[in-house]
Amino acid sequence: MNDAIRKVVMPKWGLSMATGKITEWIAAEGDDVAGGADLAEIDTDKIAGTLESADEGVLRRVVAEVGEDVPVGATIALIAPPEVPDADIEEAARLARAELDSGEVEEAAGPETGTVTVDGRTLAYATLGAGEETLVLVHGYGGDKNSWLFVQEPLAESRTVHAFDLPGHGESSKDVGDGSLDTLAGAVLGFLAEKGIERAHLAGHSLGGAVVAAAAAAEPGRVASLTLVAPAGFGTEINAGYLRGFAEATSRRELRPHLGALFADSAQVTRKLADDLMKYKRLDGVDTALRTLLGTLLDGDAPGIDAAPLLAKAGVPVTVVWGREDEVLPVSNAGALPDPGAVRVVEGAGHMVHMEKPNAVVAAFE
């Protein structure tokens, strides 16, 4: 194949994703596409996402049609400079189509997964990339490492990116002990120690934001920078109803109405998303973990965490990203940050900024 032809492949957004379905081609054959340009809408069964171009050139050929179930790693389009001859494109497209039709697609290398033990708890993680700098992603309340699925891959292009499951979440031990911020921050620092990481950039979403701030406050020398996405622990606004509703829901039917608070676009709340969250909530120990952590997050109906002193103590560079339409931790909370003006407010995003507007979150790291 002509080396100038770049394949656009079905991305692997999360460990469990095996196939994806293209719901819309945003770019058309013949369009000039830049790096980071939107190419297609892809439905992963969990959540719909936008595939961005990793290459620059002309979208010469669309290989996979709208509605087609495509295995992860399969070529769905070809990008090449205008000068690449049509015949070469034709040949590459034929091979790609044959591969797709055969169903024998070599799955793209997914993240490397593993576990470490910290304070007697197993912590699960997924790692992508091999860059010199290390970034650790810490999810929020009730989330897991997969919540970073749209951003971990692009961030890993130039870094080693670990996403790990906090105690009580994902595939980590479900025991959260006292559920305090210190315990959770201890898990982050313990993870760094176990992985032999001397110094890392930390990013945290929501509760994870407060957790990484606490980790940085505890051991500032280990933390190169903090990126906080809709972090908990700032300001006075918190949607206690959502948090309690999430913790207490015992069925998809009870849970689903609460999930609307997570996204600006409520269409993001699919039955599958609710099902997956219920699967998580039904693991032994999760109920106790979530209820314990609720005690950390809430003080009555008010926030139970004050993270501002932690940032002051940490004294490391901080970047903050917030969704304009956040209904869990409203963006008005950003006023409590040391430099409210520097907060990157993302239009059209709710609390799950990194799922709804992954580009904006990725950009915060540049």
Binding site: L15, S16, G67, T113, T115, A124, E171, K174, T250, S251, R252, R253, T270, R271, K272, D275, K279, R282, L283, D284, G285
Partner: protein, 337 residues
């Protein structure tokens, strides 16, 4: 950590995790250890299909081989359940219910009501059902509707490894008698299953696939048959919503009705014989509760009203397959008054 394991492994793991967690859980059945009193290994078999393999040495004294006396040992499991144990008895084939049914439906099922609400009988009877292994008429039936008919029994019919583990753990923790129906052709089916223990509540259907055109309610092994049909239909522009009730008693009528209210069309796929089965039950439910939403007659895809035949040529015709499901879906999708 979620990993891919088989339906058989999922059931074994559920048993092991619950035995680990709760000392009152015991396992019994014909050859469940396999080798009691013999001259070879004491745990030679682990059940006729190896489902309980490995538990015997891990849980000394808690995996019991039994004589071929289904009434006695199923009854013993029930009796033990009234005295603080949580026994899991294996009735090797569901067809053998005939030699122990009294203990199940006159004893276990009735205790709570008949004794004025003062009894609880947390027993699980695991049993293998279904056609497809050329096991012929007395080892292949899909008899879960008979148990479903009996007030006091709960009936789980897991369609996948994930369902098998979660429903079995729920069955063991449940304080009522549960008939746990494992399809013999699914034991080697694989799927993602968390390593952690988890439960799936009874009476909550799983929507296996979203679709707006036709609702297909499928039970047990028929779920994967329906999925195969749905895939084929999708390419011809018919989007099927598949509802797997997971338990036939209790039955999640709400999810079924919700789906039919959206699609207006229903096909029920049930491996059981056609009279008084889940297909007729669910059809009646929808006819009564969602009549106004229906835009076509309800279709049922079931086995014929015959014993299960032996010859592969006949058995393959007997079992509902994806083609029959697809045909039924098309007929309701294209139905015109």
């Amino acid at each position: 950590m979620a990993r891919t394991i088989s339906y058989r492994e999922a059931i074994n793991e559920a048993l092991a995790q619950e035995m680990e967690r709760d000392g009152s859980v015991i396992v019994m059945g014909e050859d469940n250890a396999g080798g009691a009193g013999g001259s070879g290994a004491e745990d030679a078999w682990g059940g006729v299909l190896g489902v309980t393999k490995g538990l015997y040495h891990r849980f000394p004294g808690r995996v019991l081989d039994t004589p071929i006396s289904e009434s006695a040992f199923v009854g013993a499991a029930i009796g033990a359940a009234t005295r603080g144990m949580r026994p899991v008895a294996e009735l090797m084939f569901i067809d053998f219910m005939g030699v122990c049914f009294d203990q199940i439906f006159n004893q276990a099922a009735k205790f709570r009501y008949m004794f004025g609400g003062k009894a609880q009988t947390p027993v699980v009877i695991r049993t293998m059902y279904g056609a497809g292994l050329r096991a012929a008429a007395q080892h292949s039936q899909a008899l879960y509707p008979i148990f479903t008919h009996i007030p006091g029994l709960k009936v789980a019919v897991p369609s996948s490894p994930y369902e098998a583990k979660g429903l079995l753990i729920q069955s063991i923790r449940d304080n009522d008698p549960v008939i746990f129906c494992e399809h013999k052709a699914l034991y080697d089916a694989t799927g993602d299953v968390p390593e952690d223990s988890y439960t799936i509540p009874f009476g909550e259907a799983n929507v296996v696939r979203d679709g707006d055109d036709v609702t297909v309610v499928a039970i047990g092994r028929m779920v994967s048959v329906a999925e195969e049909a749905a895939k084929a239909l999708s390419s011809s522009g018919i989007e099927v919503e598949i509802v797997d009730p997971r338990t036939t008693s209790p039955l999640d009528t709400e999810t079924i009705l919700e789906s039919v209210e959206n699609t207006g069309r229903l096909v029920v796929v049930d491996e059981a014989s056609p009279r008084c089965n889940l297909a007729t039950d669910i059809s009646a439910l929808v006819a009564r509760e969602a009549f106004g939403s229906l835009r076509a007659p309800v279709e049922m895809v079931t086995a014929p009203h015959t014993p299960v035949p032996f010859s592969d040529a006949l058995e393959d015709l007997y079992i509902p397959d994806a083609q029959r499901v697809a045909n039924a879906v098309k007929s309701v999708a294209e139905w015109k008054r």
